[in-house]
């Protein structure tokens, strides 16, 4: 087995941050969904499973270790042969349907490395806690997504001047009819961005079932709520999509976060849809509470990412943020990807040694030392802290 699998299986254990809700810590356990390695199970139905932290030692998250998030529990296995994508809406002049073969044959393939991160990743670390799926650090992953440009599909559909939003529906649905179906929209300008894709492959393989087979939307830089899985319908709209998942869920207070891209057709005086990811980083080595020998030199490792502006620096502090030193950045494989970093660490004193990591991006955004509170528990980007025991 590849190294990451051996590690994952040999460990058969995982660390949960002590700040997560006690109720979550009592029930979270490693469980394997079909086709997946054991991931941290938060809920069985719908399946919400997060990636254990050690997998982020790799630049690209293996497909079988990639996190799983659903809102609704009726999740059909979609047969790629009978799958059809319907494209239409009141702001499209030429509606049409596509098979998977036609989608692959008729449009130019592109591949983009990009982080897929749940809006609520790290929600469980909010203090005070807020209700929802109580994610730790692993509701995210980085993959090479291959597919076609959404723009090329929309060009064929002939958008009218009135088109303001493009909405997506997937094959999954609610257990009871009265529950609003999960439908999401993005602004038309974002849908026409050449980096917004309909992907059918991830890391060189067909999409795994639990990550949206046979095709899903990729909105690089934006949180995963828009990355519709098991895509079945694309609707060009002249009016804002107004279901629960747009109007009430996935909203952040206006003006609280230093974000650039806004979704104005959905914005109200009070709140606005979540859009791009905030700048963030993670220490993946050493692991929390790892024991190291005095005098030993370690290489700390980790990743940093943002909404697509590009990571310009990662700094490490070993004195609770009084002084900072630059980590060495790994190769830049694309502005939406994880950026790896390393930092040599000397152990000169016995006892606890605490590392803090802080990433900064090309538009000057950096990580927070105090939490920006918001009712949905989104955009947690407090600096990550790991302590090792020097003995």
């Amino acid at each position: 087995a590849p190294a990451h699998l051996r590690e994952g299986l040999a460990a058969d254990s995982f660390s949960l941050d002590p700040h997560l809700p006690i109720g979550l810590r009592n029930i979270a356990q490693l469980e394997a969904l079909p086709g997946k390695v054991p991931l941290i199970k938060l809920t069985y139905r719908p399946p919400n499973y997060e990636t254990p932290l050690h997998y982020f030692n790799e630049l690209f998250t293996p497909n079988d270790a990639f996190f799983v998030r659903y809102h609704l529990s009726d999740i059909p296995e979609v047969d790629p042969k009978s799958w059809r994508l319907a494209v239409g809406g009141d702001a499209a002049t030429k509606p049409f349907e596509l098979t998977l073969d036609a989608l692959k044959r008729d449009f130019m393939p592109v591949e983009i490395p990009a982080v897929c991160q749940c809006s609520g990743s790290r929600r469980g670390l909010f203090e005070p806690h807020v209700a929802g799926v109580e994610w730790g650090y692993g509701a995210m992953g980085n993959a090479r997504w291959k597919g076609i440009r959404l723009k090329d599909i929309l060009d064929r559909a002939g958008l009218t001047k009135e088109a303001i939003e493009i909405a997506f529906d997937g094959a999954d649905g609610p257990a009871l009819d009265k529950t609003p179906d999960f439908v999401k929209s993005i602004p038309v300008w974002k849908a026409l961005d050449p980096d917004t894709l309909i992907a059918y492959e991830m890391n060189g393989q067909p999409l795994p079932h639990f990550n949206g087979a046979p095709a899903r939307i990729i909105v690089p830089g934006w949180t995963a709520t828009y990355w519709m899985k098991h895509l079945t319908r694309i609707t060009a709209r002249s009016t804002p999509e107004d279901n629960f998942w747009m109007k009430a869920a996935y909203r952040i207070p206006v003006g609280k976060f230093p974000l650039v891209q806004r979704f104005l057709t959905q914005e109200t005086a009070a709140n606005t849809p979540i859009t791009e990811m905030v700048v963030n980083s993670l220490i993946t080595t050493p692991a929390e509470s790892e024991k190291v020998r005095m005098g030993q030199t370690l290489t700390a490792k980790g990743i940093a990412w943002d909404g697509g502006y590009g990571i310009t620096s990662v700094e490490i502090s070993t004195d609770e943020g009084q002084t900072w030193s630059r980590a060495t950045l790994g190769p830049d494989v694309g502005r939406y990807s994880f950026r790896q970093w390393t930092f040599p660490l000397k152990t000169t004193r016995k006892g606890a040694l605490t590392l803090l990591a802080r990433a900064t991006n090309a538009v000057g955004q950096t990580q927070n030392s105090t939490l920006i509170q918001n009712p949905g528990g989104y955009h947690h980007n407090l600096m990550h802290r790991v302590s090792v025991i020097v003995g």
């Binding site: 995982f14 660390s15 029930i27 938060l42 139905r45 399946p47 529990s73 009871l176 529950t179």
Partner: protein, 94 residues
């Protein structure tokens, strides 16, 4: 800081370990059956455990109201009251 390590039982079958929500045990107490009958139609009951113990009576009431009003949970008024009582007693903020 400490490491939280759970013993893991992995049942290996042809498709790997299988997830099984029947293992979920809600705490004993009056109202438990009402919760089990009303709250598992759309999702497993670990949604409740996971969100504990930080919601107080008012916030559990808001959750139950959201399930009924927003998600269409078919729960009648007397059951809703028993559910909120049970949740705030067994899974509420101490």
């Amino acid at each position: 800081m400490w490491k939280f390590v759970l013993p893991v039982v992995v049942l290996v079958t042809a498709t790997g370990a299988r997830a099984d929500e029947t293992a979920i045990k809600l705490k004993d107490g009056p109202g438990r059956d009402v919760v089990m009958n009303n709250c598992a139609a759309c999702h497993s009951l670990d949604y409740i455990q996971m969100n504990s113990p930080f919601l107080d009576q008012k916030l559990w009431e808001a959750e139950v109201t959201k399930m009924i009003k927003v998600f269409g949970a078919p729960v009648d008024d007397s059951d809703a009251k028993a559910i909120v009582d049970y949740l705030s007693r067994s899974y509420g903020r101490p």
